[in-house]
């Protein structure tokens, strides 16, 4: 990754939201923001597919793809 490539592919609006959210966390008590975060994360986990075979299969495929991409990047 070099700076110009990375800059081109990044979604600036999403990064701006991250900055906005950090400012929110810095200003507000965790009583307020961590309640929102907990609701988001707990809902994600509660609705997650807990199928072991499928989970490990996806992980294995993702690992292979990531390795291939890294090798290609190194080759260039």
């Amino acid at each position: 990754m070099n700076s110009s490539n990375a800059k081109n592919k990044l979604d600036k609006q999403r990064l701006d939201f991250v900055r906005f959210w950090v400012e929110y966390i810095r200003k507000m008590s965790s009583d307020i923001w961590s309640k929102q975060q907990k609701e988001l994360i707990d809902a994600m986990i509660k609705s997650a597919n807990q199928n072991l075979k499928e989970y490990l299969r996806v992980k294995m495929i993702a690992k292979k793809i990531a390795k291939k991409l890294r090798d290609e990047k190194r080759a260039h």
Binding site: M1, A6, K7, V18, W21, V22, Q37
Partner: protein
């Protein structure tokens, strides 16, 4: 410089210890704290990767929590005791069924042991045995996080976490890096990030991204 108040809930007590009050702990936080207390009996560890940002409020979830581990004594014994202990605390390994299999098959093949609560797959803890220089540095320079006065987690140095996110380079990873940097800007050493970035073989000027 220390102690330094980062937010109303986060105080840097010194360069290696953060005091953190988090009113509402998610299922992921509870899992991380519980599994870390078991791992900590037999391994020095540092949590790295996306969960570090999530612990500190990033608005996203994750399926797995990355641990870099170093056995406190012989690796074989540490693994045997770990598997005995996870059983006691109602965890299981989703990919390496027992200690013997972990030692004979998983570890030699560099398959990372994944631990989850019994009858669950997600969330899980992915254990990487330290092997590279930066893995060892993650543990040696780890930060202790005291959560709500009586619970603990250790995380890898913030600067290395941020640099590694640049190495991974996806949108999500850069967002994690920006989140950590902007939250901890008062105590983060930008030169250390740039140094780690170089060690990871990247030609990135971090100043282009690390703006709050």
């Amino acid at each position: 410089m220390f102690p330094i108040r980062i937010t109303s809930d986060i105080i840097g007590l010194n360069s290696k210890h953060i005091d953190y009050s988090k009113k509402h702990l998610s299922i992921l936080d509870e899992f991380a704290i519980d599994i870390a207390s078991v791992i900590n009996k037999f391994f020095s560890y540092a949590i790295v990767g996306g969960y570090v940002s999530i612990l500190f409020g990033r608005s996203r979830g994750t399926e797995d929590i990355d641990f870099i581990i170093r056995p406190r004594n012989a690796l074989e014994n540490a693994i045997i005791y770990l598997f005995e202990e996870i059983e006691k605390y109602n965890f299981w390994s989703i990919n390496c069924s027992n200690a013997v299999y972990a030692l004979r098959e998983c570890i030699p093949s560099k398959i990372r042991i994944r631990l989850a609560r019994k009858n669950m797959v997600i969330p899980n803890a992915e254990l990487k045995i330290a092997e590279s220089k930066l893995d060892y540095e993650s543990i040696e320079k780890r930060l202790k996080i005291t959560i709500n006065k009586n619970r603990q987690l250790y995380i890898g140095p913030l600067e290395l976490n941020i640099a590694y996110k640049f190495y991974l380079g996806s949108q999500k990873d850069i967002e994690d890096a920006v989140h950590l940097f902007c939250l901890f800007k008062e105590i983060i050493n930008k030169n250390a990030i740039q140094n780690y970035v170089s060690q990871l073989g990247l030609k990135v000027n971090i100043n282009e991204f690390l703006k709050c």
